[in-house]
């Protein structure tokens, strides 16, 4: 409708043709009103609300940081406590182990001593028994050798030396002389040859 009128009356002095670039008053007034409304809304509602939110958020973050710091401190404290406890426990266990080792060594030493004593005792008694047996054997041997030599001598001499006292005295004397080394073996020559 308007375009048609514009086209029909090409030389109108209206805004489009007369002053195409001039600011249009109605537009300026409405622009001012528009700006005013928006500015008022922003100033009284939007910006204060957002600023309040920012403060709230900053406070929340600050509070959170404080809380985190506190938690960190608590954690550090707990860690220290645990470390101390751990060190204590370790020391204690070391001590226990040490004492157990000592005890074990002591027990072993004791056992060893006991065993040695026992062994010594057994050896001693065995030795003693052997000695006793030897003594007995010596006595017996001596008697037997005496008897044999007597028998032998009586056979040689042809004379029975049955007299026990004499016999015993001679043999014993002979044997003790033998032991003392007074008699050395000598060559026995047949009686007939030398005379």
């Amino acid at each position: 409708m308007y375009i048609a009128s514009l086209a029909a009356a090409g030389e109108t002095t209206g805004f489009p043709s007369g002053f195409p670039l001039l600011p249009h008053p109605a537009e300026m007034v409405i622009g001012l009103i528009a700006f005013g409304i928006l500015y008022w809304l922003y100033k009284t509602k939007v910006v204060p609300r957002l600023e309040e939110l920012y403060e709230e958020r900053a406070a929340a973050i600050e509070g959170g940081m404080q809380q985190a710091e506190q938690a960190q401190a608590e954690a550090r404290e707990a860690l220290e406590k645990y470390t101390a406890q751990l060190a204590e426990a370790r020391a204690e266990s070391n001590e226990l182990r040490e004492s157990a080792r000592e005890q074990g060594a002591q027990i072993v030493a004791e056992m060893r001593a006991q065993a040695q004593a026992e062994a010594a005792r057994i050896t001693e008694s065995a030795k003693r028994q052997v000695e006793a047996e030897r003594q007995q054997a010596v006595v017996q041997l001596r008697q037997e050798v005496g008897a044999l030599s007597t028998a032998l001598a009586s056979k040689i001499v042809g004379e029975s030396l049955e007299d026990e006292v004499r016999q015993k005295g001679i043999v014993d004397r002979f044997l003790s002389e033998l032991e003392a080394g007074d008699i050395t073996p000598e060559k026995v020559t047949p009686a007939g040859q030398d005379v």
Binding site: L6, G14, E27, I30, A34, F35, V46, E52
Partner: protein, 279 residues
């Protein structure tokens, strides 16, 4: 309301008017941005135009979104709140705090947030289907926003420097030889009072106008070539123009964000100049 609708209503009209002549296609120009919706006084100064309506729609959308999303804020953000906080953080920290300084920036955050969101949404409306009108391509609206920034930074500066004369004196950097002072004063005065507002408004306006005009040229021209092109080659050129307009649309998206960012950034920069003790 999209450009295709524009052309649909536009082309036959122009074709009809130019029925006698040979020329059928009227290139889109500045007059393409004149779009009365409620013609209170025809083509006069008080007609309610399409950009004005779009601007009001954007305000309603932004108000609904920001006020609604900040009604129930939680320390751990939801999806909507994340978007709100993201944009707010960007304006508050990246633009406000980093440029104005952490001492004074908070009182200017509503201003910067209004500028950024309003410009961004209105710029994006340039490529949003069915709206497709960048409000800032009408020079009056960037002028209004610039005026607000202009008044703000001068007021802040006069208040900070305790008066108008000290403010003027502070424009001259200290430690200059006497004969250089007047020259520099003129230069600085021009910068602060004329060049800065002029460039601030015109940069936004020009970028949005040119970008949208380019899209119009490619889309309308492409359509004209496609529908009225005499041969297959011209019709193919029309298709090509359409394809290019799609690429340009993505490019526009970047420009739209960038312009909103630059406008807000410069506003913050001018304010930071004003709040600093010596500039």
């Amino acid at each position: 309301m999209s450009p295709s609708v524009v052309s649909a209503s536009w082309l036959p009209a122009t074709v009809a008017t130019a029925a006698g002549g040979e020329e059928g296609f009227v290139t889109p120009g500045v007059s393409s941005f004149w779009w009365p919706i409620i013609p209170l006084d025809g083509e006069g100064p008080w007609t309610i135009t399409r950009p004005a309506i779009v601007l009001l729609i954007s305000v309603a959308l932004l108000a609904w979104f920001y006020v609604g999303a900040t009604r129930k804020l939680t320390v751990v953000p939801s999806k909507n709140q994340f978007l709100v906080e993201g944009s707010y953080n960007f304006v508050r920290n990246t633009i406000g705090r980093d440029i104005i300084g952490s001492k004074d920036f908070l009182q200017f955050v509503p201003l910067l947030l209004t500028l950024f969101t309003l410009i961004l949404v209105n710029n994006l409306f340039g490529i949003v289907p069915f709206i497709q009108f960048p409000t800032m391509s009408r020079v009056g609206i960037p002028i209004v926003l610039t005026l607000i920034v202009y008044i703000t930074y001068h007021t802040v500066a006069i208040r900070r420097k305790h008066g108008v004369l000290p403010y003027f004196k502070s424009l001259i950097p200290p430690g200059l030889p006497g004969w250089l002072k007047p020259i520099l004063f003129v230069l600085e005065f021009l910068t602060y009072f004329i060049i800065r507002p002029l460039t601030l408004a015109l940069r936004l306006f020009g970028n949005m106008l040119a970008g949208h005009l380019m899209l119009l040229v490619f889309i309308l021209g492409g359509e004209y070539l496609l529908l009225h092109g005499g041969n297959i080659f011209l019709q193919f050129s029309g298709v090509l123009a359409f394809a290019f307009s799609i690429a340009m649309t993505f490019f526009e998206l970047l420009i739209e964000f960038l312009q909103a960012f630059i406008f807000t950034l410069l506003a913050a920069l001018y304010i930071s100049d004003a709040v600093s003790e010596h500039h």
